[in-house]
């Protein structure tokens, strides 16, 4: 509240009355301005923006009721310029009319100076309260705007591939905490999250920053989507109060494997649409929202699906299906599906849904955030398979262009030997990549290395230790059967504190700096029976050329990325060397 002198406006055609009221008001420390009819009263109001207005009723040119109506119109909603009518008309009619015109109080002559002063004090008290409420409202509005700005400018602006992922984001009048994130994994897979925090305003955005940080950092380091979900759940459980939680859907899309992993914790069904606008699959929520349980439920599992080029995955929050029209009806799933299907035919799902929504809701006030993400399953960054370094023309093999030291020792080596249950619970690839980054610094060239390590490790685990047959993945039914079987066999791996379990995978790295880059020699050994690698590779290359086969692309891809790739000991030991050129 301002400490400066308050201004009172006296509107009365009797100069005597004006003088009298001015004296009393000045005694109460007001600065007084005077007008002698309604019209000049309105002008004075505009000019001085007084804190209090005293208004006569009967005046020439414009009477007090009309002047009051105009002033109230000018001062707008929620802005109280208290107006007290001063009159000698002690009638019910006058009282009702003055209130109707917008007057805040009425004072009937004759009155004593003390009554007048008391009246003014009580009016001032009310107007101070209004000011206070207004201030609080403004503060709340600022908070909500800050929360919204934080979400859109700070958090979501850093998303990956904003141009490719279709997004609808219509915050409710009171911002209510929907969040959309996308990030690229080191191996070219795409991670997407659509989430909905309970609550409104700033309260609902408490979790946004940690969720974002975790999602981005872990994706970048190469953690799997389930590991990221588990971590976000744990974080939200510690951070959020008991009645706040985070409903979210996650997708991890691998273009080169033509597959996607989906997890829905508490959002409405997600969808897989094909290019012909058919709903191929729906992803129902399979887990309570994140932040409710200290850990994910033990049977928490990703849904693994096969995707084709031009398929799209769509996630929505409940704001869409619960959007209401003027009759109070919900937009609902059927209308959404219709709009989406029609939109795919028009090659613009996102905007078609938005158009339908706007037409349905008309100008109804929106109660909840409305969000959608529309993710194409193809057209993502291709993994570079051409960066195998070749010796430039004019150099012969003997000239040792790369300066590979013959018989030299590596500058460092690294070993990780995982056994039994740890093979299920630990993802070694981020650990290994972290070590490499710590030792040699970050760099673009590690992306291929990440892919090589991931593929070789998964092969060793799946085909070696778990003895899964990759040909299972050739058909759509086999595809999910494969992943079911995989998690079943992982569960059987035992943890034994006394004896080292029999099952293991050992990863060894040796690093050789070269004059123009570096060389990494990777060894991965597993405890399995081995498999006929050559046959797999041969089959694959034929099949890939024919465009037939879904599985087994891993080895083929690794072969393209590596300088050398060699399987030994019946396929239980693989040695790969990777060279990069700076």
């Amino acid at each position: 509240m301002s400490q400066s002198q308050k201004i009172a406006l006296v509107v009365d055609d009797s100069r005597m009355q004006c003088k009298l009221l001015s004296v009393l008001l000045e005694e109460e420390n007001y600065r007084v301005v005077v007008a002698n009819n309604g019209e000049s009263g309105v002008k004075m109001y505009i000019k001085y923006q007084p804190d209090l207005v005293l208004m006569d009723i009967n005046m020439p040119i414009m009477n007090g009721f009309e002047a009051t109506r105009r002033i109230k119109k000018l001062s707008g909603v929620g802005n109280l310029a208290p107006i007290i009518f001063i009159t000698s008309m002690d009638s019910e009619q006058a009282f009702i009319q003055s209130v109707d015109a917008g007057g805040d109080s009425i004072l009937v002559r004759p009155f004593t100076p003390n009554v007048f002063k008391a009246k003014i004090k009580s009016m001032q008290r009310i107007s101070d309260l209004v000011e206070q409420v207004k201030g609080l409202q403004q503060e709340q509005q600022n908070d909500a705007e800050l929360a919204e700005k934080m979400m859109s400018n700070v958090i979501e602006a850093r998303n990956f591939a904003l141009d490719k992922i279709g997004i609808i984001k219509k915050p409710a009048t009171i911002f209510s905490g929907d969040i959309q994130l996308s990030a690229l994994c080191p191996n070219g897979e795409l991670h997407v999250l659509l989430g909905d925090f309970t609550g409104h305003g700033l309260r609902s955005s408490i979790g946004a920053i940690p969720v974002t940080e975790t999602f981005r950092a872990m994706t970048k380091k190469g953690f799997s989507i389930l590991e990221i979900i588990a971590q976000i759940n744990k974080q939200m459980y510690t951070l959020l109060p008991g009645d706040l939680f985070f409903a979210a859907s996650f997708a991890s899309i691998s273009e080169h494997e033509k597959s996607a992993y989906i997890f829905n914790a508490g959002l409405p069904d997600g969808y897989l649409f094909n290019n012909d606008a058919k709903i191929m699959q729906q992803f129902a929520s399979t887990h309570p929202p994140l932040g409710i349980l200290p850990q994910l439920l033990p049977d928490a599992q990703l849904e693994v699906i096969q995707v084709k080029n031009n398929d799209r995955i769509v996630f929505i929050t409940d704001g869409i299906v619960e959007a209401r029209n003027p009759l109070g009806e919900f937009f609902g799933f059927l209308r959404f599906e219709k709009a989406a299907i029609e939109g795919i035919a028009k090659k613009d799902l996102t905007n078609n849904v938005l158009k339908y929504l706007d037409e349905f809701c008309q100008q109804c006030e929106q109660e909840d955030d409305i969000s959608l993400v529309n993710i194409p399953c193809s057209g993502w960054k291709k993994i570079k398979v051409t960066n195998k370094v070749s010796i430039p023309k004019g150099f012969s093999e003997e000239e040792n262009y790369f300066g590979i030291p013959q018989g030299a020792l590596p500058t460092w080596s690294y070993h990780l030997h995982l056994t039994g249950k740890l093979l299920k619970t630990v993802n070694p690839i981020p650990l290994v990549m972290n070590q490499i980054n710590d030792l040699e610094g970050a760099g673009e060239h590690w992306q291929s290395l990440y892919t090589i390590l991931t593929e070789l490790f998964i092969n060793a685990l799946d085909h070696g230790v778990l003895e899964l047959n990759s040909s299972l993945k050739d058909s759509a039914e086999g595809f999910s059967q494969y992943f079911n079987e995989r998690s079943k066999r992982l569960d059987k791996l035992v943890g034994n504190v006394i004896n080292t379990p029999d099952d293991f995978v050992r990863i060894s790295l040796k690093y050789f700096p070269l004059s123009h880059g570096g060389k990494m020699v990777i060894n991965i050994k597993d405890s399995g029976q081995g498999f006929e690698v050559l046959k797999v590779i041969k089959d694959n290359s034929i099949a890939i050329n024919d465009g037939l086969k879904l599985s087994g692309r891993g080895v083929e891809l690794v072969n393209k990325l590596c300088d050398t790739l060699e399987y030994q000991e019946k396929g239980t030991l693989v040695t790969a060397s990777y060279i990069w050129h700076i």
């Binding site: 309970t198 008991g242 706040l244």
Partner: protein, 101 residues
């Protein structure tokens, strides 16, 4: 908007009957209905037979009740939800956290 509460004859159940709309406006009343109850091994029955609409803050309120119940070794039963409400509970997978009947 109200919540009517009664203890069953054998004193083993606290039945909380919720209104048509179960949303943030019931927050205080819902809390008041159980915070002073400290009986051990009590079953808290949230009767949703009258409820037509429920939002996510209602789910939050149920979670707070669950924390309270656990403190006194009690349990929660969500009773007779309508199809719409059941759908909301299912999306949130609340059947994994408590009994819904």
């Amino acid at each position: 908007m109200t919540i009517s509460c009664k203890i069953s004859g054998d004193g083993k159940k606290l039945v909380m009957l919720i209104d048509e709309r179960f949303d943030f406006s019931l927050h205080q009343k819902f809390r008041d209905a159980y915070t002073s109850v400290m009986t051990q091994d009590l079953t808290y029955v949230v009767d949703l037979s009258q409820t037509e609409y429920m939002d996510s803050s209602a789910l939050g309120m149920i979670l707070l009740l669950k924390d309270h119940a656990q403190l006194y070794a009690g349990k929660i039963i969500i009773s007779r939800p309508s199809d719409t409400v059941r759908k909301i509970l299912e999306i949130a997978q609340f059947q994994r956290l408590m009994t819904i009947e």
